[in-house]
Structures are given as C-alpha cells and as structure tokens.
C-alpha cells in the first residue's frame, strides 16, 4: 500500500532541515543565509505533507498549511532580498559581519 515508510520522509526532512540550519549559521553572506532558511522551510513543508498523507489524508488542512508556508516564504524572500538590495546600495556589502550599524 505505502511503499515508503513515514520515517523515511521524516529522515529526509531532518537532513534537509539540518543542512539548511548549517547554511544559515555558516554563511557570511546575507543571501546565503536566506537560502539556508528557504531549505529549512522546505523541510517543514515535507513534514507537513508527509503527515497529511500518512496520518490525516482525509483532512485537507495539511496541504493548506503547506501552501501558507510557501506564501510566507515568498513574502519573506521578497522583503528580505529587498532589504539586502537597499543595504548593498548604501554600504556596498551584504556580509552580515560588516553590518553592525545598530551596535554602536
């Protein structure tokens, strides 16, 4: 019936999540960090859809959540990248270590 057990999906999602967290932590560049966050959101979505399919396939809520997560990710990427573009214009950099304007 189900050729792939649920734990495979969750393991793959955990791997994608960990790689995304590593990208967000280790990148120097703001766009690199943003791409790591996109990977994390995708891992979350795999979990949501896998749980929908395996645990509550008759309730559409899982897919609604996944679509809303995709929407929020798009809004976040649009505004986040716009902030990076505005910063790059003024400071000619997007390396987060150099962007310590609020520190002083």
């Amino acid at each position: 019936m189900m050729p792939i057990p649920l734990s495979w999906w969750l393991t793959v999602s955990a791997a994608l999540f960990s790689i995304g967290v590593y990208g967000a932590l280790s990148r120097k560049n703001a766009i690199g960090i943003l791409m790591g966050i996109e990977l994390v959101l995708n891992a979350v979505n795999i979990n949501l859809v896998a749980f929908w399919r395996y645990i509550a396939p008759t309730d559409i809520s899982g897919q609604v959540f996944a679509i809303i997560v995709i929407t929020v990710a798009a809004a976040e990427a649009a505004v986040g990248l716009a902030i990076i573009i505005a910063l790059y214009r003024r400071r000619q950099t997007a390396v987060v270590d150099d962007l310590d304007l609020l520190k002083n």
Partner: protein
C-alpha cells in the same frame, strides 16, 4: 502500460532519485564557493522537493512548488545576486568564523532528530486521500480558512509595497 509497477520498485527508485536531487542540491547550496552556483543548486533541491510532493499524492502542491519556488523565488534570489555582483565572491571564502562550530552542532541536531523520528510510533492511518484535492482546497480557503485566506492577501500586499519601497532606484537618488 509500458511497465508493471508491482514488479519494479518504481516508487522507491523515484524516491531515491528525488532524494539525490534534494539533499545533493542542499549540500551544494551550503558548500558552493560561488553564490550564483548556490542559487542554481537551490533550484535543483526545490525540484527534488516537488518530486516528493508527487510521491505523496499532493500533485497540486508539486505544481505550486514548481510555480512559486522554482519559477518565482529562485528567480528573485538570482536577480538579487546579479544586482549585487560583488556578492558572488568568486574564489572568496563564503563562510564566517563560526562555521567549524556549527558543523558538529548541526550533526548532533540531525542525529537527535533521526533518533526521535525512529523511536516515536507514528499513528499512521491506512486511509487514502478522498476526492479532488484542488476542489477541497477551494472549499477550505473559502470555508474554514477564510480569515487566513484574506490575511494572506494583506501579507502579500504588504510584501509588495515593502519590497518596491526598499528596492526602488529613487531611494538612492533622494539620499545621495
């Protein structure tokens, strides 16, 4: 039918191909020294996730994933990288000083997650998804999820206004 699905473990094969795309792409995203190549690896990874949705009987979500993530968000990221050409940093080290610390932490996180995933007994139901998913989504958006549906519209509108306001060429002219 060209092949018999009961004979060949076609679902598993597709799963492993898509895993190679998703995980391989993700590793490329975090390890590529050129940010532009990172973004292209991101497209590969997102494509793999779209394949997962097909395997999970969520065809509409797979199309949404391709349309929104691969078709729009990846393009947005590529445009932002191409705007700030110095961001691509060819040959430059893209990692910050704490990358060696985050690597073992992330590995521990992954080990813990896999441990949890494989010890919990999930209440898997053998039921199949009923009816037309797209139709059900339409009913959900205009029924029990009406308020989120309208809030999404406000969120997108705010994102559009904020994005245009921040990225506008004029900001530079006014302040320079």
């Amino acid at each position: 039918m060209p092949f018999d699905p009961s004979q060949i473990p076609i679902v598993q094969i597709v799963f492993f191909v898509m895993t190679a795309c998703a995980i391989g792409g993700a590793i490329g995203v975090v390890s590529s020294p050129n940010l532009f190549h990172s973004a292209l690896y991101l497209v590969l990874s997102l494509f793999g996730v779209a394949g997962y949705y097909v395997l999970l009987s969520a065809g509409f979500l797979a199309v949404v994933q391709l349309m929104v993530y691969v078709g729009a968000i990846a393009i947005l990221i590529l445009f932002a990288i191409m705007f700030a050409r110095r961001l691509m940093g060819q040959g430059e080290n893209q990692n910050n000083q704490q990358w060696w610390l985050s690597l073992p932490i992330v590995m521990i996180l992954f080990a813990v997650l896999v441990g949890v995933v494989n010890t919990v007994s999930w209440p898997v139901s053998g039921a199949e998804p009923t009816g037309d998913t797209v139709m059900e989504l339409g009913h959900a958006f205009l029924g029990s999820y009406l308020i989120p549906f309208e809030v999404v519209s406000i969120l997108l509108s705010v994102a559009l206004i904020g994005g245009i306001f921040l990225a506008r060429e004029k900001v530079e002219a006014e302040e320079a």
